[in-house]
Subunit: 246 residues, 2 copies
Amino acid sequence: MTRIIAVSNQKGGVGKTTSVINLAAFCALAGRKTLVVDNDPQANASSVLAPEITSGSIYRGMKPVAVEGEPGLWVIPSSASLIDDERELTRQPQGRYALSAALEPYRGQFDLIFLDCPPNLTLLPTNALLAADDLLLPLPCEYFAMEGLGQLLAYVEDLRITAGSKIQLAGILLTLFDRDNPRSFEVDADLREHFGERVFSTRIPRDRRLAAAPSHARSILTYDPLSPGSIAYASATKEFLRVLNR
Amino acid sequence: MTRIIAVSNQKGGVGKTTSVINLAAFCALAGRKTLVVDNDPQANASSVLAPEITSGSIYRGMKPVAVEGEPGLWVIPSSASLIDDERELTRQPQGRYALSAALEPYRGQFDLIFLDCPPNLTLLPTNALLAADDLLLPLPCEYFAMEGLGQLLAYVEDLRITAGSKIQLAGILLTLFDRDNPRSFEVDADLREHFGERVFSTRIPRDRRLAAAPSHARSILTYDPLSPGSIAYASATKEFLRVLNR
Ligand SMILES: Nc1ncnc2c1ncn2[C@@H]1O[C@H](COP(=O)(O)OP(=O)(O)OP(=O)(O)O)[C@@H](O)[C@H]1O
Ligand SMILES: Nc1ncnc2c1ncn2[C@@H]1O[C@H](COP(=O)(O)OP(=O)(O)OP(=O)(O)O)[C@@H](O)[C@H]1O
Ligand SMILES: [Mg+2]
Ligand SMILES: [Mg+2]
């Protein structure tokens, strides 16, 4: 039974792409056949998982490509052309469901499909939220990111009511966690009080090696598997898989 | 002579809003009558500079509001309604020039007008790039942000050729600079080799107080004026004003 997971947050730079790449890598390591779909015209995930491909997107019929050096991990890369695809989709009556339709053939071929989203709430993330079964929400304990949380959850709820979305919140993953800042722990405690079990107990620490791995076109698993960031993503993956099977 | 400055970068979380708020605060302190226009539906700048206003935008005729506690600093706040404004603008033939037209009455009333942009290259940032005289580009020394630099500069060049934009690159401001990471210095050196003087010599260090100030609805100037982040933004403002007068 394939599960499609949208990784979304309209706040920029919160660790969406970093979480998609590294959760997917550990899911593949754990024996799940995993597909990453880059749904962002920045194509950051593509630059790590399929650096040699620089055009096309799932909306233009791009097929899955095996990720070199990461058995069980596949990617459908994107490119800047996704900006044009989005403009084209706004003109189509069923434009919000294009990704759902494009992913249909892959249900049954993969155990998990991760959708990396751009930092906004326009048509591309909307496509992902309407195609996905689950929502994973990376969130740093910083003021602007917290401010936007309500807007995102309200938007997701609106899609469930008006557009038939069946998406469930799989969880909130605390990212870029700064253990030296007392404020991080205050925000953490607030979130757990408000969202309970839906906040993963694993926190992803700020770890320079997580920011360095992409420049070597690697996930943290193949770049520095014993680093704090890697161990945290391994533990977050374990928690995530447990939540999916609940 | 009013100068309109777009602060833009489609990469998320690079310090656009933090730079707009703090550069504008120091410009006002230096006696320049300064206006911040929030052109982002996240309304992060608005939540700091005019937290009591939660609807409207410049596209709906919102007028400048004086920022409490920061003499000489004004703001035209935005709200989530900007998502609808953008959708509306896509239907108008002159939709790309709406911000230019809306800012016209304020030329002559302010010395400086800063435009905070959302993390993408859709119609809202395009409006800012077509309305502005100068572009300020916040950039962390991180792989994904560097990857996107070419895409942004190509898009700006395209607007100069196809849409009559007169925007000039005022400079690249290195943000979230991590002095403990040797890679930051490598990227810094590469950038200066490639862009020369257009890279500000002031680097904005990663400083927790910069991330804390917004939760008190303050710029760094009124929150912790002697912090490393504040001193860096004071020095960056000095450099920036010198560049504008060149
Ligand atoms: N835990 C971490 N420790 C250190 N650096 C990190 C961590 N997570 C992400 N980063 C770095 O922070 C920056 C932002 O992360 P990332 O690009 O994954 O966020 P995003 O939400 O996908 O951004 P966008 O909104 O632009 O899509 C990147 O340079 C990334 O390498
Ligand atoms: N120099 C700095 N030191 C520490 N934290 C910083 C610094 N600059 C920005 N931040 C924090 O990093 C996060 C991202 O910064 P900011 O929101 O200004 O970026 P942005 O480019 O405007 O993001 P978006 O793309 O979502 O609009 C915020 O939580 C902010 O408080
Ligand atoms: Mg991303
Ligand atoms: Mg911002």
